[in-house]
């Protein structure tokens, strides 16, 4: 097991290097000279040249990359042009809210999608199965920002059940209930666009398992349908389902940018949006890098979970 973990962790290194190269390339593709941008229009060419030298902008590209990487590893992604504070400080201050949003959204998606997928597989071709297909089709075609707006219109504007946006009402002061009321609609929006895909993937994973010999054996020896499906089959479908959940997190993290923007939920996504609106590119690229790293970690964790769930993988 230890060997499996080590190999798996090492194998994410090339991906991490690749991500850092790609983000560095984007940093270099930002139009304009960073030195003149920092110094403003009154700077003399000599000042600019000196700053360029000090920033290492005259060095060859691989060297610049190495310097950038060294800083990035020390959690230095530069400063926000607008807010004049380190980008990583901003990111960490928003991290909690984004984690809360994506995890709750995933909980919604799992709570609805997993049972729906299992039942759809059990009764392939039934009305429920077809309904799952339709929900998945709609979820795949639904822009999350539009769904968010519809939810706000129905549940906040017309019914008045939930606030229209934000992270907490200032009047009430911070409390669990306050945050929860603000969290429900955005995570529901994000969860609902994911749930159909999750249900369909669960369904096909289950269908694959149900065709296996040991399920036939379980049926043949007289186990109830309930035990066969929920104990034997679902347990064995765990590995593909964990994969699905891991992959869907990427979808959720990307969708969080849009969802947080619609609901004014102050997470990393909203930070990226604010960075786009004010052309604060260090914030945008820092956010992109940060979220990509988070996704790599999620994928690593799901892979490690395979080893735990299925001993065959560990030794394979």
């Amino acid at each position: 097991m230890r060997r499996y973990v080590a190999v798996r962790i090492l194998s994410t290194l090339p991906v991490l290097v690749g991500i850092s190269v790609l983000v560095f390339a984007l940093v270099k593709a930002v139009p304009g000279d960073p030195a003149s941008a920092l110094l403003g229009p009154e700077a003399t060419p000599q000042d600019v040249a000196m700053l360029r030298d000090a920033l290492g902008l005259e060095k060859p590209l691989p060297m610049q990359y190495a310097l950038w990487l060294k800083k990035a590893l020390a959690a230095d992604l530069g400063r926000s042009i607008q807010k004049r504070v380190p980008v990583t400080d901003l990111l960490f201050s928003r991290l909690r809210n984004t984690v809360m949003l994506t995890v709750t959204a995933m909980a919604f998606a799992l709570a609805l999608g997993l049972p729906a997928g299992v039942l759809a597989a059990r009764r392939a071709g039934s009305a429920l199965d077809r309904a799952t297909m339709v929900v998945a089709l709609f979820g795949n075609s639904m822009p999350v920002f539009w769904l968010g707006i519809l939810l706000i219109l129905v549940f906040s504007v017309h019914l008045g059940w939930f606030p229209t946006g934000g992270t907490a009402s200032l009047r009430e002061g911070p409390s669990f209930g306050n945050t929860l009321r603000h969290l429900i609609l955005p995570s529901l929006a994000l969860g609902l666009v994911t749930v159909g895909g999750l249900a369909r993937l669960t369904r096909s994973a289950m269908l694959e398992i149900v065709g296996q010999d040991y399920i036939r054996t379980a049926r043949a020896k007289g186990l109830s349908q309930y035990r066969t499906i929920w104990y034997h089959a679902l347990k064995n479908a765990a590995v593909p389902i964990v994969t699905i959940v891991g992959a869907q997190f990427g979808f959720l993290l990307g969708g969080a940018v849009l969802t947080e923007t619609v609901f004014g939920w102050t997470g990393i996504g909203l930070l990226i949006y604010e960075g786009i609106a004010t052309r604060d590119l260090p914030v945008v690229l820092g956010g992109v890098l940060f979220v990509a790293l988070a996704f790599v970690i999620v994928n690593l964790v799901t892979d490690l979970m395979y080893g735990y769930l299925d001993p065959r993988i560990r030794y394979g």
Binding site: P14, S141, F145, L258, I272, Y273, I276, A292
Partner: protein, 309 residues
């Protein structure tokens, strides 16, 4: 038939392949045949196709059919509701006619969704074909590069690229294209890997067919159905991705508008005029849904082995 005759006349060594050619052509025909049949037998798929054609024609003819100038500001009539005389879908925050702006917006939203789909399909196919057929270390390098692109959460890389390059229709197209290539390339590569070992490819190789002949006459035609299915499903995803960029302000610059940016502008006035945001959103949804419905119908028609999930 005429073609295979010509082939056997000009290339004597290929005479053995003429039957095979004919087989491939029969397969081609049956693909279009199956597509036609699935469209005729599935009213939803047919409706989706008709809707897509209508939307395309409407966007093309926007200058002729738009009831108003999409940029004409009229502050007296700002945020008029749906059904206002002369403004079927109401007006936006500057009193501009929403229906006209949607029609003109289609001239931006359609290309930003469709061009990346086509380019990603072509580039992804080329990369996948080459990578899968050549194999070895070039294949490894290409796959690792694709891994890196796919390691970014959905749409996030497109946001980064578009943000760096700045708003603009070309930059949006580029950003959406980049995130579309890896899926197609991987799909194509795995198809090549499995087809490469099939008897008809081995036979072609043994009879001395050139690499390009094997790739373009044998492997590619047998991948067409997969490409059609993923092309149309991919188009649905591209519609959402490009609308998302527009929504985030990474599409075109005002006063021009794509559907995503119209929705973003209308969002501010949600309480007084919900239609300004919901109508463009509905159109984006319908547009993406049409591609997805079509893609699913094609999947059912073309490949019973493909999982329906």
């Amino acid at each position: 038939m005429a073609r295979s005759l010509r082939v056997s006349q000009t290339r004597p060594e290929a005479s053995g392949l003429s039957t095979e050619n004919r087989l491939i052509r029969t397969l081609d025909r049956s693909i279009t045949g199956r597509l036609r049949k699935s469209l005729l037998s599935d009213p939803f798929a047919m409706a989706a196709l008709v809707f897509l054609v209508l939307i395309g024609v409407a966007a093309l003819m926007a200058p002729q059919i738009a009831p108003h100038d999409p940029y004409e500001v009229n502050l007296m009539r700002r945020l008029s509701p749906i059904g206002t005389p002369g403004h079927l879908l109401g007006t936006d925050e500057l009193g501009r006619d929403i229906a006209s702006r949607l029609l003109w917006g289609g001239r931006i939203s359609l290309p930003v969704a469709i061009i990346p789909t086509v380019v990603a399909l072509v580039v992804g196919t080329a990369v996948g074909l080459a990578s899968g057929y050549v194999g070895g270390s070039p294949d490894q390098v290409i796959m690792r590069v694709l891994d890196v692109v796919m390691a970014f959460p959905y749409i996030l890389l497109a946001i980064g690229i578009a943000a760096v390059l700045g708003p603009g229709i070309f930059n949006a197209i580029l950003a959406v294209t980049v995130i579309g290539i890896p899926v197609i390339a991987r799909l194509m590569r795995s198809t090549v890997l499995s087809l490469r070992e099939q008897e008809f490819v081995l036979a072609a190789t043994a009879s001395g067919a050139t690499t390009s002949r094997i790739l373009f006459r044998h492997i590619l035609p047998n991948s067409v159905s997969i490409l059609i299915v993923y092309g149309s499903l991919g188009a649905g995803a591209k519609v959402i991705a490009s609308a998302s960029l527009g929504f985030l302000g990474l599409g075109v610059e005002p006063p021009q508008a794509d559907w995503g940016s119209m929705l973003a502008a209308g969002r501010v006035h949600l309480l007084v005029a919900p239609h300004a945001a919901t109508v463009p959103g509905l159109l984006i949804f319908a547009f993406a849904l049409a591609f997805n419905v079509l893609g699913e119908a094609f999947r059912d028609a073309l490949d019973p082995r493909m999982p329906t999930s």
